[in-house]
Amino acid sequence: MIVKKITVLYVDDEPINLKLFFLNLQKRFNIITAKSGYEGLEQLKLNSNIDVVISDMKMPGMNGIEFIRKASGDFPDVLYFILTGFDINEEIADALNERLIYKYFRKPFNIEEIETTITNLFR
């Protein structure tokens, strides 16, 4: 049985993080990375096969929630996640309540947790 590979867009302003995310999860998922929210939006437009978006919270120009809010307007079928080094704040809590984001992950990220969560969602 050929399982379609899930495509994940990871947005983070830290290139090492992007690289680590790509290296660790490329075997399970198709990984697309973006260095900012703007780039993330462009990638979404370019790759219509993106299933999941995971975004860092603190980024220059546009933070993770702002980016996801914009992206979900154009791509409502995509599942959105936040990956943050900070504790949960009000903005994130609201986004969770609005079902804008499905879950938020903590940094330093637990690769297995992310993998399991996504895999379970698309099983």
Binding site: I16, L20, G85, D87, N89
Partner: protein
């Protein structure tokens, strides 16, 4: 009575004349007319019957006699006509026109006779009949006529003329000679005239005698009426007279008539009772002089019979025994051969009584006259003394009346200053003098003042007979009056000139006098001040007080003084001092006399003084108050200073504390910011490490499987390091938290229970949990997650402090508006040197890796964020109690 009877008889006679039914018209006609009408009525009927008979007879004769050839109609028709005429006569008669009927009757009879004669010319016998008939009719006519006798003459003349005419016309037929005619005419005319004249005279005689009878009758009636009237009148007068009148028979002495007044005065109940009584029945047994009444009565009756009239007084007695006096006038008169006596009585009982009283009073008056205390006199205008009673004699210093009677008051100058002339003038003018005062001289030449009340006694002609009157010696009274007047004058003058107001009131407070000064002070007039009027002048503010004060003193009847104000009509105010003294007469209060003194000036000065004094007092009071205030202020200032010092000390301590806290807080804040900044920045490198290690481990698992066991240890150590660092950073993250988390109503008990569930595996078999929750519900507004964190931290510390076995007591209390949570453990406790550091971040007594040293610090921060407090009470080796106090949202 007699006349009434006769009148009745006449009436009966009149009624007895029965008129035929048809003649009811003549019911009210005079007697002769009635007779005539009746006669005429019957006559007509008889003639009609006779004529009917005649008609038959004539018809029979005409039919059976050879002389006639059948019925001779003119005669029959004539006879029939006559019947008709008579019928008409009866008809008219019934209608009441007797006079017309009589003429118709006579005329028609004659016409008939003449007609028959004319018709049967040839028969001399018939002519003879005619004459006889005419004569008969003439005779008959005299019966009918009463008035209009000339008409009768007219009938005769007409008949004579008719005779002549008849003869003139028939003499040829009968072939009479002139001499025969003349002879016949002469004879017949003479017979007519003679019969006529006789008839005429009969009528005249009848008429005159009838008139005479009628006049006599009228006269008689008039007389009768007059008599009747006078009799009635007399009787009425007799009966209605107020004067009692009795008529008595002179021989038997019995009363035969008595009028109503007499009945009343005698005391009889009815006329019947009185009739038959004699004078002795109404008299007292004896008369005034003591002689028996019957003798005295006989004497007076004899005298009346002899002299016709006698008047005397008589003592009567009524049937009920009451005696009464009467003046009796006895008259004798003759009536129908009888001698009667009439008594007229006048009741003089009252008069008699008055006479007796007069006699008695005369006696009494003479006593009064003799014993009176006032002088009584009678003097002539000339000055002669007619009467003087002992009092007067004594008053004038005489010994007896004889002595004084020699004295002439006009001449002997007993009047001082010719007042006698005035007296005479006055008394003659008005007929009396009243309270006439004059000075008299006594025998001893002493002057006395007298008062007399006198009147004039005059005779019928109006000439003065004498003066009589009462004299009173008023000398003493006059002197007293004079003295009184002088004293009054003195009082009046004193009151007028008095510089104080004076008033006088009755016991009820009614003012009867005020002096001019009083009026001046009050501004009221004398009239206005009287009665209760004085109150009007009193100042309205003092009025009630003054009125009550006055009432009070009236009751007490003692001297009263009061100060009050008058408000004068011009608006000025006068202060007065009033004094009132009871006025005593025979130890009884009959009023009050009082004075009022003008004390306005005094009052003014007093007020001025009072004002000064008041001012002074106020000044002193003010000063004292000022001093007191100053003193108080000083004390207060002192206290204030002390307080301020204390406060300053406290503040200093607080400041120090605050400074410490501030420093601490500042330290914490900067540390927090630093920590969170650091934490975040460290997150990424940690991520690199974690990610890198993950990648390495993955690579080894894929490619260097046989080295995995050796390398795994290193990988684990790296991961352990990353985990610890992550833990620290996660905790540090709390410091960076803004205080903006949402709060909701939390149930603290539920939170505690949740935490206990989380810690369950650490508590199990080791620690006993004792819960003592408050029964009262609490409304705690807080962030539920944070609260969980707080409780979890505290409980974790408590759990970790217990090494082996122990217990944790959790108690909640509602105290005021706070919720207190006490968590005690039987753990190791905290040393004194550590207890101040337990809220510092990174302070921990736990072995490395067991705690971050941030738990209580974070807890502290959370509690502060919720405006609560957290305290620690711990004894080393025994246990620790954490007390959290949170404000409730009430």
């Amino acid at each position: 009575m007699k006349f009434t009877y006769r009148l009745k008889n006449t009436k009966e006679e009149n009624e007895n004349l029965k008129l035929p039914k048809g003649l009811s018209y003549y019911k009210d006609s005079d007697f002769s007319t009635k007779l005539r009408a009746r006669f005429m009525y019957y006559l007509c009927f008889s003639v009609i019957i006779a004529l009917i008979f005649l008609v038959f007879n004539t018809s029979y004769l005409h039919l059976n006699s050879k002389e006639f050839h059948g019925i001779f109609y003119p005669v029959i028709i004539l006879e029939m006509l006559l019947i008709l005429v008579l019928g008409i006569c009866i008809f008219i008669l019934k209608k009441g026109h007797y006079n017309i009927v009589k003429h118709i009757f006579i005329s028609s009879s004659m016409l008939c006779v003449w007609a028959v004669m004319w018709v049967s010319i040839g028969n001399p016998l018939v002519r003879l009949d005619t004459v006889v008939y005419i004569l008969a009719v003439f005779n008959l006519s005299s019966l009918f006529f009463v008035k209009h006798k000339r008409v009768y003459l007219l009938y005769i003349i007409i008949n004579v003329i008719v005779l002549f005419v008849f003869v003139f016309f028939v003499k040829e037929d009968l072939s009479l000679t002139s001499s025969t005619v003349i002879d016949y005419l002469a004879d017949t005319t003479v017979a007519f005239l003679f019969t006529g004249i006789v008839g005429y005279n009969i009528i005249a005689i009848n008429k005159r005698s009838f008139e005479k009878v009628e006049t006599d009758n009228k006269q008689l009636k008039k007389t009768e009426e007059a008599l009747r009237q006078s009799e009635l009148f007399r009787h009425r007068v007799f009966d209605s007279s107020n004067i009692p009148i009795v008529v008595m028979e002179s021989k038997s002495y019995k009363y035969i008539d008595i009028n109503k007044a007499a009945l009343k005065i005698y005391g009889f109940s009815s006329r019947e009772e009185s009739l038959g009584k004699t004078p002795l029945d109404v008299s007292a047994p004896t008369q005034y002089d003591g002689s028996p009444s019957f003798k005295k009565a006989a004497f007076y009756i004899e005298k009346a019979l002899k002299e016709g009239e006698v008047t005397f007084e008589w003592l009567h007695r009524r049937p009920d025994g009451e005696l009464w006096d009467a003046k009796v006038q006895l008259l004798s008169f003759r009536s129908e051969e009888k001698i009667l006596l009439q008594f007229s009585l006048i009741d003089i009982t009252e008069q008699k009584k008055v006479e007796k009283e007069l006699q008695k009073s005369e006696l009494k008056y003479s006593t009064i006259f003799e014993n009176a205390q006032v002088g009584i006199y009678q003097t002539t205008p000339e000055g002669e003394i007619l009467q003087a009673n002992p009092a007067l004699i004594d008053m004038l210093g005489f010994d007896s009346f004889d002595e004084i009677s020699k004295y002439n008051i006009n001449i002997d100058n007993s009047y001082v200053n010719s007042t006698r002339k005035n007296f005479i003038k006055l008394i003659e003018e008005q007929g009396f003098v009243k309270d006439f005062e004059s000075e008299w001289k006594t025998k001893g030449d002493e002057t006395i003042i007298i008062k007399e009340n006198s009147r004039v006694v005059r005779n019928l002609e109006g000439k003065t007979l004498y003066y009589e009157g009462f004299v009173e010696n008023v000398t003493k009274r006059k002197l007293a009056e004079k003295a009184l007047k002088e004293s009054q004058n003195l009082f009046q003058t004193l009151a007028q000139v008095s510089p104080v107001g004076i008033f006088r009131t009755r016991t009820d407070g009614y003012t009867t006098y005020v002096n001019p000064k009083w009026m001046e002070l009050s501004g009221l007039s004398f009239e206005e001040a009287l009665g209760d009027g004085w109150l009007k002048a009193v100042h309205p503010d003092d009025r009630e007080f003054q009125y009550n004060n006055w009432e009070l003193h009236l009751k007490k009847s003692e001297t009263s003084t009061a100060e009050y104000r008058f408000l004068k009509p011009d608006g000025s105010v006068v202060w007065v001092l009033g004094r009132a003294e009871p006025e005593l007469v025979d130890n009884k209060i009959c009023g009050y006399v009082g004075t009022i003194t003008d004390i306005t000036e005094v009052k003014k000065i007093e007020n001025e003084l009072k004002k000064h004094r008041d001012n002074l007092e106020i000044l002193v009071k003010e000063r004292t108050e000022e001093l007191e205030t100053t003193n108080e202020e000083l004390i207060a200032t002192n206290e204030e200073i002390l307080k301020q010092r204390e406060e300053l000390e406290t503040v200093l301590i607080d400041l120090k504390k605050a400074q410490n806290q501030l420093v601490h807080a500042e330290k914490m804040a900067s540390l927090g910011i630093l920590a969170s900044g650091v934490a975040h920045e460290i997150n990424n490198p940690l991520n690199f490490i974690r990610g890198g290690v993950f990648g390495i481990q993955d690579y080894i698992e894929d490619n260097l499987k046989n080295h995995l066991d050796e390398l795994q240890t290193f990988i684990d150590i790296v991961n352990e390091g990353v985990d610890r660092a992550t833990n620290i950073i996660t905790s540090l993250n709390h410091y960076s938290r803004t205080n903006d988390l949402k709060k909701s109503i939390c149930d603290m008990h539920k939170i505690i229970d949740n935490c206990l569930v989380i810690l369950q595996n650490k508590i199990k078999y080791k620690i006993e949990i004792k819960k003592d929750y408050s029964d009262l519900p609490h409304s705690l507004l807080a962030n539920e997650g944070r609260m969980h964190q707080v409780i979890l931290n505290v409980l974790t510390n408590a759990v970790q402090s217990i090494e082996n076995k122990g217990s944790i007591s959790i108690k909640t209390l509602n105290v005021d508006d706070t919720l207190q949570i006490l968590i005690s453990d039987t753990g190791c406790g905290i040393s004194n040197e550590n207890i101040s550091k337990i809220f510092d971040p990174f302070f921990t007594t736990k072995e490395v890796g067991a705690g971050t040293g941030l738990g209580l610090s974070i807890t502290h921060n959370i509690i502060e964020e919720h405006n609560g407090t957290i305290n620690v009470d711990s004894i080393l080796g025994q246990g620790t109690t954490i007390k959290i106090v949170l404000p409730l949202n009430n």
